[in-house]
């Protein structure tokens, strides 16, 4: 789509674009280029010497057990977060959609965790699950579960998943509710007249009509779990115990900032960029589908 009537001029539009282009080049393209360049170099921690090593950094990263461990953690963590956040939000949205009048009230009541920073959500949940102080943490110990997220990797993973899911339900709920409310009542009535029971109506009529929304949300949730949950993990577990909650993005931070291993960290960044590009491409195809459907 293009406008037919436009203003003349060459310098003005370039001047209008200049601020955003400047920021984009200095803080996006330059660092992205640097990341790719550095991923091909080996540098000592103080930057005194560097040599070109080709794809060696990638080879090392991809065969490094700690990176594979982080990749595995990311898969488990993202899968749990996306699955639970989508499932719970869909359940709540279906309930809210049943009573049209209540829907907006429940939307208001459920919406606000979105506004809480991931790192703050982590602190809230820590207060409940802290083994000596937290209500749930102590409760678990009282009934004989040796709960301690600082020692037990599974416990740590459960805690970061809970905090991440809690924050994401609101977002999914808004989109699911909007999707449900845009399904024409006549379609549902027709199914009801045909004698389809509620559960059957949900799986054969509503869910297929919601699938573009679901797919879009799945990609958004995966992106969220991959990148935006750094604050939760950093605040709660620091990737521990024994790297049990170290995700890919957390490892980039540890290797780059704490261990100053720039080549390896850059190679990991490049791998992550490829993952984001793939996710974004999938998302655009989903949005296309959504528009046409």
């Amino acid at each position: 789509m293009q406008k037919k009537v436009i203003f003349r001029g060459r310098l003005l539009p370039i001047a209008l674009l200049a601020p955003q282009l400047a920021v984009t080049f200095v803080f996006f393209f330059w660092p992205a280029g640097q990341a790719i360049y550095q991923s091909l170099l080996r540098e000592d921690a103080f930057g005194f010497s560097r040599e070109f090593v080709g794809l060696e950094n990638f080879q090392e990263v991809l065969s490094d057990p700690t990176w594979l461990n982080a990749a595995m953690n990311t898969v488990v963590f993202s899968g749990c977060v996306a699955g639970l956040a989508l499932g719970l939000a869909l359940f709540l949205a279906v309930q809210a959609d049943k009573s049209l009048r209540g829907a907006t009230v429940y939307r208001s009541l459920l919406i606000w965790p979105y506004a809480v920073a991931p790192a703050v959500a982590a602190v809230l949940w820590l207060f409940l699950f802290q083994p000596e102080v937290g209500m749930i943490g102590r409760g678990l110990r009282a009934i004989g579960v040796p709960w301690d997220y600082r020692l037990n990797g599974n416990h740590a993973m459960i805690l970061v998943v809970i905090a991440a899911v809690w924050k994401q339900i609101a977002y999914n709920f808004i989109f699911f509710l909007a999707g449900l409310q845009s399904i024409p009542a006549s379609v549902l009535e027709a199914a009801a007249i045909d004698g389809a029971r509620p559960a059957r109506r949900f799986w054969t009529v509503i869910f297929p009509l919601l699938s573009p929304t679901t797919f879009f949300l799945l990609v958004v949730n995966l992106t969220y779990a991959f990148f935006e949950t750094f604050g939760i993990i950093h605040a709660l577990t620091n990737g521990g115990p024994a790297k049990a909650t170290e995700t890919l993005i957390y490892k980039v931070y540890v290797d780059g900032v704490e261990n100053l291993n720039l080549g390896q960290s850059a190679a990991q960044s490049v791998i992550l960029m490829i993952i984001v590009i793939a996710l974004t491409a999938i998302q655009f195809r989903a949005v296309e589908k959504k528009v046409h459907y």
Binding site: M1, K3, K4, V5, I6, F7, R8, G9, R10, L12, I14, L16, L17, P19, Q20, L21, V23, F25, F27, F28, W30, P31, A32, Q34, A35, L92, A96, S99, G102, L109, L110, I111, W112, A115, V116, A117, A119, V120, L124, F127, E132, V133, M135, R150, W166, A170, I174, F216, T223, F227, E228, F230, H234, I249, V252, Y253, S269, M273, V276, K290
Partner: protein, 272 residues
């Protein structure tokens, strides 16, 4: 049955916030012993006072008052900066024809694929090279380029009828005048919706401030709070930490509660 499930859902979602509020109104001893009651206590004013003026936790941190101000400055600068540069660039792309117009648009568009978390180390090095560590520009500017905002404004500008531009031209109004008198007033609802979303985005930033700011007087409250809990042992001053947590989550939650209509609009528009 539907209402029952929903009310249960609301209660579960609200429970951690309630316990944080309760925690912020008791003395450290009560919480430290592990007997956190379900109802608020009487030490609220005292806890919030300490958190606001002195900072909480065993290791005295930056006072929450200072950190709140820092977070506010950062969030507003990010929101205003993003909106300003996006409006200008979208306006240029939609209302002008010039060489490399689409190249410029795609250069902006592709940044969608490079979230700051992914390019964190090289971007940090750029900031170090430019000498911008511990400065407001270093904290804010790398976060303000945003393809989503540019896309949103471009979509909206394309819906402005050609007749408007024609009329402006006949009246002898130049492009800057048209921007100020027609396009900006028409965009107000979009700007409001986007501001809510971007304010929350800015307020909740974590990784970037963690790297860029090591001067405690510039610390933001989200980062400061997580530094307070340290290793999360039971000896922490949980009462002042919880008071700080309330202060950290209150502004964005209030913004969402008060501007819900804009918020939902902004959310559904920017993410599609």
């Amino acid at each position: 049955m539907a209402h029952g499930a929903l009310i249960l859902g609301v209660l579960i979602v609200a429970f951690p916030i309630w316990m944080t509020l309760v925690g912020s109104t008791h003395d450290a001893g009560t919480i430290g012993r592990g007997d956190v009651p379900l109802l608020p206590g009487s030490h609220g004013a005292e806890n919030f006072g300490i958190a606001w003026n002195e900072g909480g936790g065993r290791t005295r941190t930056t006072p929450a008052g200072t950190m709140l101000l820092n977070s506010l400055i950062m969030a507003v600068l990010i929101a205003v900066g993003k909106i300003a540069i996006s409006i200008l660039s979208a306006y240029a792309v939609v209302f002008f024809r010039f060489p490399l117009r689409m190249a410029a648009f795609w250069a902006i568009f592709i940044t969608l694929m490079l979230p700051v978390e992914v390019r964190i180390i090289p971007t940090f090095q750029v900031i170090v090279d430019l000498g911008l560590v511990n400065t407001w520009p270093g904290l804010v500017v790398p976060l303000i380029a945003s393809a989503t905002a540019t896309l949103l404004f471009r979509q909206f500008f394309l819906t402005i009828p050609d007749e408007f531009v024609e009329a402006a031209k006949i009246d002898g109004a130049g492009p800057l005048r048209f921007l100020k008198d027609v396009v900006l007033p028409l965009s107000l609802t979009n700007i409001a919706a986007l501001f809510v979303i971007l304010f929350i985005y800015g307020w909740n930033q974590y990784l970037w401030p963690l790297l860029i700011i090591n001067d405690r007087s510039m610390e933001t409250i989200v980062v400061g709070l997580s530094k307070m809990i340290g290793r999360g042992d039971s000896q922490n001053d949980w009462n002042t930490i919880m008071a700080t947590a309330v202060l950290a989550l209150l502004p964005p939650v209030l913004v969402v509660a008060l501007m819900q209509r804009w918020f939902v609009r902004g959310l559904t528009e920017t993410e599609k």
